[in-house]
């Protein structure tokens, strides 16, 4: 119906001089954009189905394809832009909640890009990472506050379990169900080779991946999918998911049509039933309830594994973090408002939560003011895009970072933000076997290793430039940062001075 019509966002431009009609685009587009009319011997494209995932563009052997943003538009209106108008049409037509995938794409400020890093000169020499050892190893977990000795005077070592990382980077939670088994395999193998950890997300741990358990964080989310004794035993750490940066305050919903075969088995729910993760954990309505769950998990794992509590960055994140630190948790993971997701209501993703840079600075300062910073480690995520972001995060006070979107990009994702359709052309956010095939873990895991290795080298270069040879000397070292284009309040919250001071 004309009243429902929303013009396509993207147009497929085919250079007819270059196209050799190999039909790879027709065969590979899961959205059925391309077709070949053999009677007329012409190639056709249906723009309205195109999601700008670049699958056809990357595969075309003669580079004959181009996807462009349509120049069709409503009358230019800075307030009612194209998206605002089309969203109304969609909702008037469907009566439903708008759904989106991946992280907040709106132009809110990116504080990483307004922070600058120091380098040593003259009074303090920089260090050359190619000639001197440059250490990036970190331990996450609770540290002892008082040294105890036995009768002989020897130090009694800590009972607090810590996890060891070769670099302060971990792969963040992405559930099996939101991403494919092949994607999980790539993450697990890369984490093992690199000496870091990956996270199962709330979809449970597939039995084929128990072998990578030493490099796995098992997540206990509000739906408790796949949680049982062996699951908890299998991982190196247990993470309680209280919230997620992309959708603070709400839960998740994987429709029953996707709960089949291995997904159903791994989540331990019947095939065809909807997998609903409720908004709160229904046994955690307050901080003291959280403490109970933390200790239940520790009892179940014999106090051998650190417990992580993951929260979304919201307004009173500092107070919440302080409560969590006192609840017995070993590590606090904070997810900023730019965090990604397989599917979330658009309005929540784009309007709820706060930037991770500010949340991190506030939490680190608050925990130090209360004298409890050494009782927990802090891990942050929610759009860490490159090694400079990592250096800045650690200087603000983080022990390590969680990356997810960056990892997906390394595996082939083109951020077309159509994951919720389940037709990911790159084999990542889909369960359809013919699409999942497209993500070859042998290729993907190597790309993840390459990415983290490259970042490790860049981090070492930046550390050496600052005259530091050990990452722990950067943690919370805010004097190594300066701000540009930030107002007094922002500088004060971040705890850094302005460039020039």
């Amino acid at each position: 119906m004309p009243i429902n019509y929303i013009f396509p966002d993207y147009e497929v431009i085919r250079d007819k001089e270059r196209c050799v009609k190999c039909l790879a685009c027709v065969r590979q587009c899961a959205n059925e954009v391309h077709s070949y009319d053999d009677k007329l011997d012409i190639m056709k494209a249906c723009n309205s189905k195109c999601v700008n995932c670049h699958r056809c563009v990357s595969l075309c052997p003669t580079s004959a394809l181009k996807i462009i943003k349509t120049d069709e538009t409503f009358k230019i209106n800075a307030n009612w832009n194209n998206a605002a108008i089309s969203d109304i049409y969609r909702q008037a037509s469907s009566g439903g909640v708008l759904l989106s995938s991946m992280g907040n794409p709106e132009p809110y400020p990116i504080y990483w890009d307004k922070i600058l890093i120091n380098a040593s000169q003259v009074t303090n020499p920089p260090i050359d990472p190619l000639r001197e050892p440059m250490e990036t190893k970190v331990y996450l977990g609770k540290k002892d506050s008082k040294i105890q000795r036995d009768e002989k005077g020897n130090i009694k070592y800590s009972k607090n379990p810590n996890i060891k990382l070769s670099v302060p980077i971990m792969f963040s939670a992405m559930s099996y169900g939101s991403i494919s088994k092949n994607a999980h395999e790539a993450l697990a193998r890369a984490a093992t080779e690199l000496g870091i950890l990956y996270n199962t997300g709330e979809g449970g741990l597939h039995e084929d991946f128990y072998q990578y358990g030493a490099n796995t964080i098992v997540q206990v989310a509000s739906g408790r999918f796949g949680v049982y004794k062996d699951y908890l035993e299998a991982g190196a750490a247990v993470e309680i998911k209280m919230g997620q940066g992309a959708k603070p305050g709400i839960g998740g919903h994987l429709p029953g049509t996707k709960i089949v075969g291995d997904i159903s088995k791994t989540r331990m729910i019947p095939e065809g039933s909807d997998a609903i993760s409720p908004a709160p954990h229904h046994d955690i309505y307050s901080i003291e309830d959280l403490r109970q769950l933390v200790f239940s998990l520790k009892e179940a794992t014999d106090y051998k594994k650190p417990v992580i509590v993951k929260i979304a960055a919201v307004h009173n994140v500092a107070a919440i973090a302080s409560g969590i630190a006192r609840s017995g948790a070993d590590i606090i993971a904070i997810d900023g408002f730019r965090g990604g997701t397989g599917a979330a209501p658009t309005r929540i993703r784009d309007n709820v939560g706060i930037p991770i840079e500010l949340a991190l600075a506030a939490v680190d300062t608050r925990l130090r003011e209360e004298g409890i910073r050494n009782d927990v480690s802090i891990v942050v995520g929610g759009s860490v895009r490159n090694s400079a972001d990592i250096v800045k995060a650690i200087a603000l006070g983080a022990d390590a970072v969680y990356i997810a979107t960056s990892a997906l990009l390394a595996m082939g994702c083109h951020l077309c933000r159509n994951c919720h359709s389940g037709k990911c052309n790159w084999g990542i956010a889909t369960q359809r076997p013919e699409l999942v095939k497209r993500l070859n873990p042998n290729i993907a895991y190597k790309r993840l290793v390459n990415l983290i290795t490259a970042w490790e080298h860049e981090i070492k270069e930046m550390l050496g430039g600052m005259g530091i040879n050990s990452i722990e000397a950067l943690k919370g070292n805010r004097l190594m940062l300066r701000g540009v284009g930030l107002n007094e309040k922002e500088l004060s919250i971040l705890g850094i001075s302005h460039a020039g001071e």
């Binding site: 303090n124 190893k137 130090i155 050494n374 600052m466 000397a473 919370g476 070292n477 004097l479």
Partner: protein, 367 residues
């Protein structure tokens, strides 16, 4: 121009130290002679000394050396001291006026003991009580600064070349079993005497040559435990770290070196299992107290002196021995100036502490 404590001032410097293991007194003149020859390593903007064993007649009392901007600061401070301590002796510190040292504040010296009633009330051990009082005076009483607060030891410092500072305080009239000295080369004008080195808390003194890049990471960690880094200097934070690890966590000097100049992980991995476990535990528990950046420090405290370089050895340090005397300095010439032919002279490896202690007999005598 901001004052010390309002802005962080990087600096390069000179250090020197002498220690007689048998407890024999060394004249202050000797240490002045040693640091004088390293004149070019300073720029006249700060110099200072620490002497141990210099007040044998008051060896059981705390010796407070205090700077006052004016008389009202002195009066307020003395009121505070009288409430918390038994003042056994007080006087202006003896000085010799010299044109090379100008703008001096009022400098007073007190020999005190904590009031037993106050101690009992506060349920604190004596040293914690004294350190809290000192920190309270320094942060809360305007214009007053306690720059030395140990037993049978004293810090002498000012803005000027160290040899001139030594002359000003008449150090040739003092004798002690251990002396450390420092000459400063800061890159701004601090203009404030309290900013010179050594920095001290109780009987811990630190003289330091270097600039630590981990400063803010260290500061923001140590401030969780009641310390306030008001001067924003490296020496201040190092002293607080040593006080915390030694006095509060009761680590010995080797263990402290394992925290602040921790061996590289690659070296720890090759150690024997027992040492490996220990180093890994200490380094991990106190990860934020790892000091990075060039440094060469001389730590003094009751009966002991420790010399330590950062693990990449980015600052010079030379150690020598002759008989019972041990000498440490930034340059060999400073040692040879006061000890022409030592038995042994060497440069310690980065990260390896050199620990010098009074022998048993001397400990009975001096402590």
């Amino acid at each position: 121009m901001l004052k010390e404590g309002q802005i962080r001032i990087p600096s390069g410097c000179a250090i020197s130290g002498i220690f007689d293991k048998s407890g024999n007194k060394i004249s202050g003149e000797t240490i002045v002679k040693s640091i004088k020859i390293m004149h070019d390593r300073s720029n006249g903007l700060g110099g200072g000394f620490a002497g141990y064993g210099i007040y044998p007649e008051y060896k059981d009392l705390y010796a407070f050396h205090i700077f006052y901007d004016d008389t009202s600061a002195r009066e307020e401070t003395e009121r505070f001291l009288e409430k918390h301590f038994d003042l056994v002796n007080l006087s202006r510190i003896p000085i010799k006026k010299t044109p090379k040292i100008t703008n001096e504040p009022l400098i007073w010296r007190y020999f005190v003991n904590p009031l037993p009633t106050k101690l009992a009330d506060n349920h604190l051990d004596e040293r914690e009580f004294v350190s809290r009082c000192v920190i309270k005076i320094n942060t809360e009483i305007e214009g007053s600064y306690v720059f030395s607060s140990g037993k049978n030891m004293g810090v002498f410092k000012a803005v000027g070349y160290p040899e001139d500072v030594g002359e000003f305080y008449r150090l040739d009239e003092y004798g002690g079993y251990c002396w450390t000295a420092h000459g400063r080369y800061p890159t701004n004008t601090p203009g404030w005497w309290g900013g010179a080195h050594p920095f001290s808390l109780l009987d811990y003194t630190i003289v330091h040559n270097g600039e630590i890049s981990s400063y803010d990471a260290n500061r923001r960690f140590i401030e969780m435990f009641g310390y306030k880094c008001t001067l924003l200097t490296d020496t201040e934070v190092i002293t607080y770290i040593i006080d915390y690890l030694h006095r509060k966590q009761k680590l010995n000097l080797e263990e402290i070196a394992c925290v602040i100049a921790a061996p590289f992980w690659s070296k720890i991995d090759k150690m024997s299992p027992k040492n490996k476990e220990k180093c890994e535990y200490l380094r991990n528990t106190f990860a934020s107290l790892l000091i990075t950046g060039p440094f060469s420090i001389l730590l003094g405290f009751e009966g002991t002196m420790m010399a330590l370089n950062d693990r990449l050895k980015l600052r010079s340090m030379v150690v020598a021995e002759k008989g019972d005397c041990v000498y440490v300095a930034s340059e060999e010439c400073a040692i040879r100036e006061i000890c022409a032919s030592p038995d042994k002279i060497w440069s310690p490896k980065g990260g390896e502490p050199v620990i010098i202690k009074l022998n048993e007999e001397a400990r009975q005598k001096c402590l």
